[in-house]
């Protein structure tokens, strides 16, 4: 992480806003926020955020780079789109939150223990194997996320539910061993590879980090 991060700081100095504009999806909208606070008031998880969206936007303008990118807040968004619907300035707030999270991930600034970020990585890794989400494996991985003992405990707690799901054909225990894939797995990986290339090109176009 370190190298890219330091380079970015060097490049934009106190204008974090410009950095966001250049690197964050929909980041060019941040400057148009008029600080009315409707987004923060509309967010169903607003009270659990350390910094609700309005504050995040203000922090970007105030140049609080680390506080924003290392914040847990941008990972709190559940994509309910309440804020987008209500923003009088029509800012795509949900997209900006995800854009900031994504940028933080690129820079390696995501807080280590953030559960949303962890789950997002698990989901991605799971998806990449067979081109579809293996729910049984993803579920199990989630159980054991916080260690083996904890995983067993959670599994036992959900025993009844699991049995019922198996009985009604909602869960196939065989999926735990390999699991089935999408029809053209190689093609799927090709698509993603191409997407990655395009994304890298876009990032490169925004300019290589200064001093790189």
């Amino acid at each position: 992480m370190g190298e890219l991060n330091t380079a970015m700081i060097e490049r934009y100095r106190n204008s974090f806003l410009k950095e966001v504009e250049a690197n964050v999806e929909e980041g060019e909208w941040v400057k148009m926020c008029m600080q009315c606070g409707v987004c923060s008031g509309s967010c169903p998880l607003g009270k659990f955020w350390e910094h609700p969206p309005q504050e995040i936007f203000m922090m970007i303008r105030a140049g609080k780079r680390e506080a924003v990118l290392q914040s847990e807040s941008v990972w709190m968004c559940t994509s309910c789109y309440n804020c987008i619907v209500r923003c009088p300035r029509e800012l795509p707030i949900t997209h900006i939150m995800h854009g900031l999270a994504h940028y933080a991930k690129r820079l390696g600034l995501v807080p280590k223990t953030n559960p949303t970020a962890k789950f997002a990585q698990m989901f991605w890794d799971n998806l990449m194997v067979k081109g579809r989400v293996n729910e049984l494996k993803l579920g199990l991985a989630l159980y054991f996320m916080n260690g083996f003992g904890d995983g067993i405990k959670v599994a036992l707690k959900n025993q009844k539910l699991g049995m019922a799901m198996m009985k009604t054909g909602r869960m196939n225990p065989k999926e735990a061993f390999g699991g089935h894939a999408v029809k053209d797995l190689a093609g799927f990986h090709k698509v993603l590879k191409k997407a990655q290339e395009l994304e890298d090109a876009r990032i490169a176009q925004n300019g290589p980090p200064a001093g790189a």
């Binding site: 806003l17 400057k31 504050e55 203000m58 303008r61 105030a62 300035r89």
Partner: protein, 761 residues
Amino acid sequence: MAAEKKLAGYICTGCGIGERLDAKQLQAVATREGKLPSVKQHPMLCGAEGVKLIQDDIDAGNATHIMIAACSRRSKVEAFSFPTVAMSRANLREGVIWSRPAGDAHQETTQEMADDYIRMAAAEIKFMTVPESSGEQELNKTLLVVGGGMTGMTAAVEAAKAGYPVHLVCDEPVLGGVWKDLYKRVPFRAAAFDVPGGNDVDLPQPEDPGLDDLIEQVMANGRITVHLNAKITKTSGAPGRFSADISVDSGRTLTENFGAIVQATDYKPYDANQLPEFAYGTTPDVLTNFEFERLAKQANGAVIKRPSDGREVKSVAFIQCAGQRSSNAGHLPYCSGFCCTESIKQAMYFKAQNPGCDATILFDDLRTPGAAGEDFYRSGQQAMVTFTKGQASAVVAADGDLRVKFKDLILNEDTEMVCDLVVLATGQVPNTGPDPYAQLAVDEAPTEEEKAAARAALAVAPPSILNLDYRQGTDLPHLKHGFVDSHFICFPYETRRTGIYAAGPVRRPMDLKQAMDDAVGATMKAIQSLENAARGSAAHPRVGDLSYPRFRKEGCTQCKRCTVECPFGAINEDEQRYPQFNESRCRRCGTCMGACPVRVISFDNYSVDTVGQQLKAVDVPDEFSEKPRILCLACENDAYPALDMAAQSGEHITPFVRVIPVRCLGSVSLSWVTDALNSGYDGIVLMGCRRDDDYQCHFVRGSAMAAERLSKVGDTLTQLNLETERVAVHEVAITDLKRAPAILNEMAETITRIGMSPFKF
């Protein structure tokens, strides 16, 4: 005045009046009790046939004073327009049948109500004469515009366009006033609507101020005479016949006559020396918005440099509300309403002229009035101006940098920023003359001590601008903070000196666009005023009224209450110290009539008698009848329409009330109150307009005067051994459709509780 009064009554039975009321009885009341020699009925009096019935009588010389018993006097005014005769109206529709429930149980009291209104209108008409103008009027189409700024120039150009000659008086050697330093102006246009590609495409940008163009228009216009370096040293007269002495610096004085005057003296920039906390005066890199505009004009599109060392400005902070919206001594308590858009504009200069410059606007509430307003704010945001909701507390100059200490109100933390230049968004101080009532306070202070205090207040007052030779002071009266008083909602340009119109920031703080729009409005009003004055008819709100106060000199005691209390300064004093009415300055409110303790002031169609006789004409049943009588004197501007509209919307009122419209509560003579109490009325309700600083009185001070006079009525009641609840004064707005009837019904309940008046004869 007509030689012989020929009275005639007309009763309309349309709109349900004939079905709900006994028309025969109404006719009998009008003939026998009202003593009208001719009374005619018609099923639709306002129709062509009905109007012809009346007109034929008038044309034949059989009717010079007519009583029309039909709808409210506010309805069918076009149909019932007979300017050659005196007319009274009995309000049987809104006043009786629409405000009373139908049914036998209510029939008796409802009919009594109608009978009384006929008696009242018949009594009133006997004391009216046909209003005639005084005949001293003439048409003077020339306008005087005071102030050579953008506001004044706009006023002059607009008047000239409408065909009226103008004299434009400017106290500086060049035109432009406070606006002449503008490099660019806040855009006048809003963003286009529904632009393909989104709302943020094609947002308005700072534009050419248009000053040179306007000056050229003024100088080239044959109807406009410009006086530079000139002052008004004396103004006298009245609308239609103002005379002003225009004195030029060279010593020459020119006397010109005018029909009306527009005062467009704009504002003075706030003195930022009162802001030491922002390091103003200690470093040239802290400027006011006015000073910075000059700097920008000098830069003329090139890189903007610091005044101190000529270094290119790389970061700038704008401090909004500097010395404004604050109760601190020396600060302006109000919002100047133009500085937010002004700062956005100035921040955009940096974005356009100084590459890579950071521009931050520290605001508490960003207020962007005007056409471009919000669009221009977005324009600034698009240009990457940083808007920070923060409250600046101090600016410290150190090592060539400026540190702005502020509290970030969103992040809730005390912080600071370093920048090269600080611009203070300071406000507008109205450029008005001294408040005439401050002067009057000196003249009329009873003790030497109070005189000294009033003098001290006057000593800090600005010099006079108009130098009016009115008894009531040299300039336009203020409301607060030095702004000219005007009826803010209904007649914003009408000042308290008829025929003199305030335009632009003298009225309230505003930006250039609003000031120029204001100039157009005020000019149109000034033109109306001089045209009305030529006809001898009133200005707002009694437009077209020809009546004016007449006074019986023999009875006058020279108490001067009328001259002092006239809200419009219409009354001077002659050499013998008698009041001298200037009828075209008069707004016909009748506040003088209400003030006069010896009742010598009257109008042709409105006098102590026209109302006094109405209230005496009401049939007052005896103490044991359980039919109390409540007199309601309702202001014709708000309260009376409110009652009419309440009736239209089906609100019911007590059948015991008798409503008499008055021109303004200020015209209410206390004799009406005492007469009513002596005649056995059980309660009196007075309804006027709101009277505090946010007053809605159409005659500015009328309602307040009335409240002051009536505050002593309690003593009278106590002397008569009557309960003080019997007289109530209420502030009623035109929207009080539910409340106005409720007030009357409440009084009826009060009477039931405290009992009938013992003064029934």
